[in-house]
């Protein structure tokens, strides 16, 4: 097996996994602050994709401003969802699961009825191919990788150093304790949910030109996100990044040797294996 093929495979795997990490980060953030698993998370990814489609493909706005706009729009959608629905379900994991399922159906059907069933393509914002040795990556994908890394860095900085970010981490660790310290739980929950959705929306917007948009496009990324946060540990940001890299490796290399079904099985087997050795994921917090 030529080394170039292996490196190319790894590169393919990582590039995509990084974007799924964005989705995973959003999901894990929401879980750590509100203690709910939002099954409809993939639909916010989809909304980000469509928002980018409308801005960039239909109205001809430049790409990066459109992406920012999409992030804001999806974040606002998250605020609405949180205020109207999820706020009442804090800590009630099972009920939140059912509700998020309902929301998934509402959003997906709504998208289908509003935007039509056919895939809509978003023109590439960047053309060209970068070659290094025998390795290829399109400029478009390279930009996506840079943007994803950038967003992850921004999120990290926000959580580490800003006051609101620290408040969020406090709530994630111990909501009651944080409340006693004067943290406004309601506000933090709302913001956390919004940021979580915005991250998914960003991922959708970044991948829209690469993969086209369709009402059901959120289904696969959310499954990948689940795998990533379980492996990495729920509530852990470095865990999510590591989980993403692991998934990228398994899928990238796996595809060289096995068919797609086997690769999917490998992903799930990885989840099972990690959980048996470390029941809370690699960096999971109790």
């Amino acid at each position: 097996m030529p080394i170039e093929l292996l490196v190319q495979a790894l590169l393919n795997g990582f590039a995509l996994a990084l974007v799924y990490v964005l989705v995973a980060l959003g999901l894990t953030l929401i879980f750590s602050i509100l203690e709910i698993i939002n099954f409809a998370h993939g639909e916010f990814y989809m909304l980000g994709g469509y928002a980018t489609y409308f801005g960039f493909a239909l109205f001809g706005l430049p790409y990066f401003p459109t992406l920012l706009l999409a992030i804001v729009v999806v974040g606002l959608a998250g605020v609405v969802a949180e205020r109207m629905i999820f706020r009442h379900l804090r800590g009630k994991t099972l009920n939140a699961f059912i509700v998020s399922l309902g929301l998934l159906w509402v959003l997906q059907s709504g998208a289908q009825l509003s935007f039509g069933v056919l895939d809509k393509s978003v023109p590439s914002a960047f053309s060209g191919i970068i070659r290094a040795g025998g390795i290829i990556i399109s400029v478009e994908r390279f930009v996506v990788v840079l943007a994803a890394v950038g967003l992850i860095a921004v999120l990290y900085a926000f959580l580490q150093w800003s006051r609101v970010g620290r408040a969020m981490r406090a709530v994630a660790q111990d909501a009651d304790g944080a409340a006693l310290q004067g943290v406004n739980i309601e506000f933090v929950s709302m913001l956390g949910f919004a940021i979580g959705c915005a991250l998914a929306g960003a991922a959708g917007g970044l991948l829209a030109p690469v993969f086209a948009v369709s009402p059901a496009m959120g289904a696969l990324p959310v499954v990948k996100a689940f795998i990533i946060i379980i492996v990495g540990g729920m509530g852990s940001l470095p865990g999510a990044v590591l989980g993403g890299l692991l998934l990228g490796t398994v899928e990238g290399i796996g595809s060289l040797f096995f068919g797609s079904a086997a690769v999917n099985v490998l992903g799930f087997l990885m989840v099972i294996a990690v959980l048996l050795v470390r029941p809370r994921g690699l960096f999971g917090v109790a």
Binding site: Q112, L118, A212, A216, S255, L256, G259, V263
Partner: protein, 401 residues
């Protein structure tokens, strides 16, 4: 006081009802209910939606022209549509509802492999005519006389396609094929591999992927390492086929491109981008705007686009055509009873939206239940699908002799 008002109301209401009942229904006007099933939500919704629209267009046309005249009766066609969400169990329940509650005797339109088998467990024992676009060899057979496929499947398309390629594009020697890993996909790959190998091609890659995949770099990396001359995206639906081609070109592929099961060039071109879609050959897709198709198909395309604001693919045309064939057979039989209509359906050519159509393919399935119409090879040039040749499937060819 109040009571009197009440009585007047009741009388008034009764009068209205009586009027309604006596309203102009001619002595022999009846309603013919026809069922349509399909995935109307989720990933495969594009197929279901096209099925319903194709049916709607033909039903509306017939009704506007005064109804369907069969024997001494005139029937108004009423469509009953259900979403089976691509689930076999749901399809069986929906079929039960259609057959036992809504009492339909015709289900014209269904898609997604496993659901066809499920529906057949209901329709065959009840002698309900069932026309679908599902691919696969298991759903047509002598034990299922009431089941028909209204669209060319990979078995009918692969052989003429690769035969044309061998004759007219002899520089192609190595073939790589990829499809989704479900019934349609696997069958398509099998058909393509069989046709290609039978004609002397070297099949260097035979791959499948999980439906819903968007990132094909890994699998393409593997396939392109074998240096194929032709990449056939076989049974991939338009969105995914577009992605595969786009990414193949990004990875440096410069060879020929085929799409044995291509059904909607517009979406593929959209998703793949002009450069990647350039040169894609397809034997099954129907470009409703081309010169090689029957003028009736063009007309259908225009009206469809006017009504639904989207360009139709072959599934819509196929279902429209199926409606055509069955209603014509009803008229020939002089009855809407399925046993009689079945007897009236023969292998002689029908005049349909496709032009001449024949029900055949006994050699593949053991019974003539496959709609056969000319295969038009199209090539995508400059962002548009251009028809370049018409090839007849073996069965149709034999008939013409």
């Amino acid at each position: 006081m109040k009571r009197q008002g009440c009585r007047e109301w009741i009388v008034g209401l009764a009068a209205l009802v009586a009027l309604g009942a006596a309203s102009p229904a001619t002595a022999a006007e009846k309603t013919l209910e026809i069922g349509v099933l399909g995935p109307l939500s989720g990933g495969a919704a594009a197929y279901g939606v096209e099925l319903v629209r194709g049916a709607e267009m033909r039903a509306d046309e017939i009704n506007k022209a005064g109804g369907l005249k069969v024997g001494g009766d005139v029937y108004r066609i009423k469509l009953i549509t259900y979403d089976h969400k691509a689930s076999a169990a749901d399809a069986a329940t929906a079929a039960n509802k259609l057959v036992f509650q809504d009492k339909v005797k015709y289900i014209i339109g269904n898609a997604v492999g496993a659901t066809c088998n499920a529906v057949q467990t209901v329709t065959e024992p009840q002698k309900v005519m069932f026309a679908f676009v599902c691919w696969g060899t298991k759903n047509l057979g002598p034990d299922k006389p009431y089941s028909f496929r209204s669209m060319l499947s990979q078995w009918e398309a692969a052989e003429p396609f690769y035969r044309w390629m061998k004759e007219k594009r002899p520089n192609i020697k190595k073939v790589a094929v990829i499809s989704p890993n479900d019934t349609s996909g696997l069958d398509t790959n099998t058909a393509v591999v069989k046709a290609a190998k039978g004609l002397g091609f070297d099949v260097v890659a035979d791959e499948t992927y999980e439906r819903g995949t968007k990132d094909f770099y890994p699998i393409l990396t593997k396939m392109l390492a074998k240096k194929p001359d032709l990449l056939d995206v076989a049974a991939a639906p338009p969105g995914e086929a577009g992605l595969i081609l786009k990414q193949a070109v990004e990875l440096g592929f410069k060879g020929a491109k085929g799409w044995t099961a291509g059904v909607n060039p517009a979406t593929l071109i959209n998703v793949a981008g002009q450069e990647a879609a350039e040169g894609v050959w397809s034997p099954v897709n129907v470009n409703v705007k081309s010169d090689f198709v029957d003028p009736k198909v063009r007309k259908f395309g225009e009206e469809y686009e006017k009504r639904y604001k989207e360009v139709p693919g072959v599934i819509a045309v196929a279902n429209y055509g199926a409606f055509d064939v069955f209603t014509k057979a009803m008229q020939e039989a002089g009855s809407v009873e399925t046993e009689k209509v079945l007897a009236a359906l023969t292998s002689r050519p029908y005049d349909t939206v496709w032009g001449k159509l024949v029900i055949g393919a006994k050699e593949t399935y053991g019974i003539d239940r496959q709609f056969l119409y000319p295969v038009v090879i199209s090539e995508i040039r400059g962002g548009k699908a251009v028809d370049i040749e018409q090839v007849l499937p073996a069965a149709l060819k034999a008939l013409k002799k």
